[in-house]
Symmetry: D3
Subunit: 127 residues, 6 copies
Amino acid sequence: MSDERYNKGLKILNAIDPQAISRVEELLKDICPDMTRLIVEFPYGDVYSREALDLKKRELITIASLVTLGNAEPQLKVHIQNALNVGCSKEEIIETIMQMSVYAGFPAALNGLLAAKAVLTDSNRSS
Amino acid sequence: MSDERYNKGLKILNAIDPQAISRVEELLKDICPDMTRLIVEFPYGDVYSREALDLKKRELITIASLVTLGNAEPQLKVHIQNALNVGCSKEEIIETIMQMSVYAGFPAALNGLLAAKAVLTDSNRSS
Amino acid sequence: MSDERYNKGLKILNAIDPQAISRVEELLKDICPDMTRLIVEFPYGDVYSREALDLKKRELITIASLVTLGNAEPQLKVHIQNALNVGCSKEEIIETIMQMSVYAGFPAALNGLLAAKAVLTDSNRSS
Amino acid sequence: MSDERYNKGLKILNAIDPQAISRVEELLKDICPDMTRLIVEFPYGDVYSREALDLKKRELITIASLVTLGNAEPQLKVHIQNALNVGCSKEEIIETIMQMSVYAGFPAALNGLLAAKAVLTDSNRSS
Amino acid sequence: MSDERYNKGLKILNAIDPQAISRVEELLKDICPDMTRLIVEFPYGDVYSREALDLKKRELITIASLVTLGNAEPQLKVHIQNALNVGCSKEEIIETIMQMSVYAGFPAALNGLLAAKAVLTDSNRSS
Amino acid sequence: MSDERYNKGLKILNAIDPQAISRVEELLKDICPDMTRLIVEFPYGDVYSREALDLKKRELITIASLVTLGNAEPQLKVHIQNALNVGCSKEEIIETIMQMSVYAGFPAALNGLLAAKAVLTDSNRSS
């Protein structure tokens, strides 16, 4: 199979977080290494690479979706960090999560804020 | 009770869609008129009125959340129209819904696109 | 198989709504008649027949659950009627649905209120 | 902004659990202190303070909703304790969770019972 | 971009239902024609084309997932028909939906059975 | 009450995992021992004992449902082990979880694969 999509996805993923690919490979290598390829190719190669939305808006709507799902804490933390990486401010990220109290309810918003606290106060400290 | 929050919320809601308030009042007057006040005061008065996000980003993350929920078609259609009203482009709206295929699955994204089709092709016609 | 549970469930179901059993049988007879037996035996025979909660509280917590699910409108309408049948007031039913705005979000609560409107204003008219 | 709603909400919240407010403030102070105000004002000031349902019924329907959501364990534990505080019996709480097996499925009910076990056997010990 | 994945996906999709592609193209052409390509390439080209599961098992687990989601009736009906097309029996399809009462609750299972009734009694008639 | 259904359910449950019953009894004895009986009787006695699907297919569709729910990790791990016990291959289990990326989204599939990794690499080691 052609590596065109994989390379396109990897380029976007590396622009967001250069260490993501090795983390995902490590996580999946013993259970389902093919999933790594799917993750690079579909979300990043097919979707995030499109031009109609910039990466800042893409990360905010992803955060909105993950807070709404309410059961994807590891992915939510990754995307909160990614949102910072692509230039979203802490205020925008926190505000996005707060707004989810209206649509997904207070428990989802509150648990989202606690995930944000773990990422954002940690990234405070290291800076 | 003070009308401060109600008035603040109504001002935002009217800026997004001047006919929304009478539609909501009509819908709820026979079952739960107090809910109209809650809708104006909490989502609009308390949340949308905050400054950390502009209304365009607020409408896109709301669309992301509603597509992810997957069971809120009437509200999704309202917010697709609201997103247009506050200046989001059709391309941004459609792209936001497409991206949800990654996080909420293809059925949620597909049903979201069909809701968008109903709103966007209708608003095409009338313009 | 013994009919003990079926009879126990049917007795409760008939106390809530004497026409329910024939409606369910009619609905399922062409696709899965065995499901009718499961519905009578497990929810009604095994669960609703227990004494730790009266039927009024059982119907209110069921309404809370169905509004939270957000994708079970036909069942929600049935249980709103059932709640009336076992003696809950309209105010309690509406208030239960409104409270769900806190936990399940405004769209779920709003769609729940519209389901209640269809049932409660219809039952108004006929009384 | 007027403190009327905040004070009304705080009065209800203190009646349910006098230590709740300082716990919530502590949890949110480094990430989103404004959320504390929203939690006091909307759920407690606007909703729980209404008269159509007593606090015992309010806590049971909240438990039903949180078990149905299935992804709000910290909030579920808080409300199981709150239900005890306002006078619900252990049997009513457990029965409410069991009934959710019918509407939200066995995994949701089972995980809800394990959350209840952590709270209820712990509060046994301390009494 | 290479058409390799698209062609691989289309081959599988055509084997399941030769009219699917034109139906999807028609549905999406006015709102988001690019989504058609994503649907062919990712679910069918990347996933269903893999050898570890036959198409009969793939359609049954898809039905299980769609019944569990509870908000994807159009897609559920499509996959009930697809399951028949690839050789699943009616009994297997109905049984799969019934079993979801355990994990996703009775309303999800019941609404799934009514979707199955619409497809299966309709396909009865035409055969 | 007759023990017929309990015995029928226990026979199936023991065939899947002979230690399950004592684990469930231990887990629930201090909070809700009656739930143990419901679990044996309804899912196993009423549903899994039916002939229209073999246990291998039943475990795969259960895994599909639990991955889709996304908030039932303990139950997902149990059923991944159960699927192995009744003769599903590791490849079928992993493939079932991967396919859920299409319907329930990538976070649900990814978290499902990590649950599978915990079970399957652990059962590797001990064999």
